[in-house]
């Protein structure tokens, strides 16, 4: 039955509702259970998704497609959601609005999951908006915190703008093809190809997705929002909703608008280079770790975007694989920052910059597990071997060379080298700079979330075969025939 194929989404929705309703009846002190409930729901959904790996189906009047690509990204989103809910247990501790936090997070996840399996532009747009709207409120979750509010405001305004741009683009595509179904758009792309409106809609859609992926120049909100939002939410944004942008772009450009390949390849080539360079260069001088991670996230987005330029099955597989790795690395890094922020705030409630890099001084002594995990994450982001980041770069960059884009690979490699500077700076602060403060106990849920992320970062780096295999399977959805 069709609904069975949507079991993961339904599970998440039901969990979200359950959390919301149960939360209404619980006193503030015992709302911790909601976090466990949410995590449990995500775990079940994850299990359902994994168990259904390999199924292929087009359901609900061909508006939803279950295939390797959507399954893969669903797993990415669910894993990020899992990290989010686990870390959220600690973050919402003592908070009276725990149920909103988890429900919004879970609903955002549903949006992302539907984007991954959308086979119709309407589904895609609505799901996209779901993921956006739910996270606007999450970004401003700390209502008393001017930074959090400002982050939400910027996120919201730029988000609305890009939604409008995207809608405009979709309307033109609809006008030119007479349909919103992704395969049919591809089949009727003649007008788009022959008219200037094709280019305009491509750019408008790039602006829409680029907002989520945080491509320069549509990235402007990202550093501010990642910095201002609660770290756990930043993790969801950077690791989850960014991937949603990528999968949407995969679907729309590579499947629907393959006829306009030349246009968007050029666009992505320009944007990839600008994005990775800008992200890395600006990240060099950041003092706020979260802002630094935000810029690094830009850079990583730039790398993933290379897949659109190269457009070989391996490159796409590499891009998809990179998205998975990046989910773990970035989510882990933000959660580690959340742990540090928590530690700083519990020592000094009025601390203005809890994520300032000075607070990472001597972290190796103060919070050994957090520091070690953070080291793994930043080294993975930098692409040090035996981590997921290295494996991803290996596949993606190597395929770039294969396709003959040597210049692009060189730029990416140089960027990768620059990035080492600011990643190593974090390690330097954590291990080499002295501190007077003492060892503190590390918040357990954060630790669990970080350890899960570390395990996956290392596992993907070390035992990559299954992950690579599934990423390549997913890439075959985009370009049938495969390698």
């Amino acid at each position: 039955m069709d609904l069975m194929l949507l079991a993961p989404e339904i599970t998440i929705a039901v969990t979200g509702l359950a959390v919301l309703i149960i939360g209404l009846f619980l006193p503030t002190g015992s709302k911790k259970i909601l976090g466990y409930l949410a995590s449990l729901g995500v775990l079940i959904a994850l299990a359902l998704t994994i168990s259904s790996l390999g199924t292929e189906a087009l359901v609900f009047y061909d508006t939803v497609s279950i295939d390797a690509l959507s399954q893969f990204f669903k797993i990415v989103f669910l894993v990020v959601a899992l990290l989010f809910t686990i870390a959220g247990i600690k973050y919402t501790e003592g908070h009276s609005n725990t149920e909103e936090f988890f429900t919004l997070g879970l609903f955002a996840t549903i949006g992302m999951m539907f984007v991954a399996s959308a086979n119709d532009l309407m589904v895609l747009f609505v799901a996209f908006e779901l993921a956006s709207l739910a996270t606007y409120a999450l970004a401003g979750f700390e209502k008393k915190n001017a930074k959090s509010l400002e982050a939400a405001m910027k996120y919201f305004i730029i988000g609305s703008l890009s939604a409008a741009l995207m809608l405009l683009g979709i309307s033109y595509i609809y006008g030119a093809t007479g349909t919103t179904s992704i395969p049919e758009v591809a089949a009727n792309a003649g007008v788009l190809l022959s008219s200037p409106i094709g280019l305009v809609s491509v750019v408008l859609l790039i602006a829409g997705f680029g907002f989520k992926i945080a491509l320069v120049p549509f990235h402007m909100w990202a550093p501010d929002t990642y910095q201002g939002s609660p770290s756990v939410v930043s993790a969801l944004l950077a690791a989850g909703s960014k991937k949603m942008g990528i999968v949407a772009a995969f679907k729309v450009f590579i499947i629907a608008l393959i006829a306009l390949q030349a246009e968007w390849q050029t666009a992505f080539a320009i944007l990839a280079v600008i994005t990775m360079t800008y992200g890395n260069v600006v990240a060099l001088n950041q003092k706020s770790v979260k802002r630094m991670l935000a810029y690094s996230s830009l850079a990583q987005a730039g790398y993933i975007t290379m897949a659109f330029v190269v457009l070989t099955p391996i490159a796409l597989g590499g891009g998809i694989f990179y998205a998975l790795s990046h989910g773990f690395m970035k989510a882990g890094a933000f959660i580690a920052t959340a742990a540090v922020t928590y530690m700083v705030l519990s020592e000094n409630k009025d601390s203005n910059d809890p994520d300032h890099i000075d607070n990472f001084r001597g972290l190796g002594k103060r919070m050994p597990i957090t520091a070690l995990s953070m080291t793994v994450f930043v080294f993975a982001l930098a692409g040090i071997p035996l981590t997921a980041g290295y494996m991803s770069k290996f596949i993606l960059f190597s395929s770039t060379i294969q396709a003959g884009f040597v210049w692009l690979a060189v730029i990416a490699i140089l960027n990768s080298a620059i990035s080492l500077y600011y990643y190593a700076k974090v390690v330097k602060y954590m291990y080499f700079l002295p501190t007077d403060s003492e060892k503190v106990s590390e918040p357990f849920p954060y630790t669990v979330a970080m350890v899960i992320a570390v395990i996956f970062v290392l596992a993907i780096g070390f035992w990559s075969e299954p992950f690579v295999y599934w990423a390549m399977e997913a890439a075959k959805v985009l370009i049938p025939g495969g390698m």
């Binding site: 429900t103 549903i110 589904v123 709207l133 739910a134 006008g175 093809t177 008219s195 305009v200």
Partner: protein, 102 residues
């Protein structure tokens, strides 16, 4: 106040126009740029549309058809929309409500 003599010199007009435009000029230029890009593209596109509107007005806007579509082909977006509404409701209430400790 009413009796105050109000007089404009041409310079005042220019100044006030200038002052009005100064912070907005870039916005205008960019909006016009965007507009021209879009309009040019629209103009140079041969839209694959019907030659004329349907004779029957009901074919233009057909509520029953829309309803059927919503509950068949576009049931999934519709369902998602329900979640969107719920979450924006929650979000808006959460953001808008005052300090619950008070």
């Amino acid at each position: 106040m009413l009796n105050k003599e109000v007089s404009f010199t041409p310079m005042d007009v220019i100044t006030s126009v200038y002052n009005y435009l100064k912070p907005r000029i870039w916005g205008m230029i960019l909006a016009l740029l965007f507009l021209s890009v879009i309009v040019v593209s629209i103009a140079f596109t041969s839209w694959p549309t019907m030659d004329q509107l349907p004779q029957n007005l009901e074919d233009q806007s057909y509520i029953e058809g829309i309803g059927v579509l919503i509950f068949t082909e576009f049931v999934i977006p519709f369902e998602i929309l329900s979640i969107v509404l719920l979450s924006s409701l929650m979000g808006a209430i959460y953001m808008a409500k005052g300090d619950d400790n008070k």
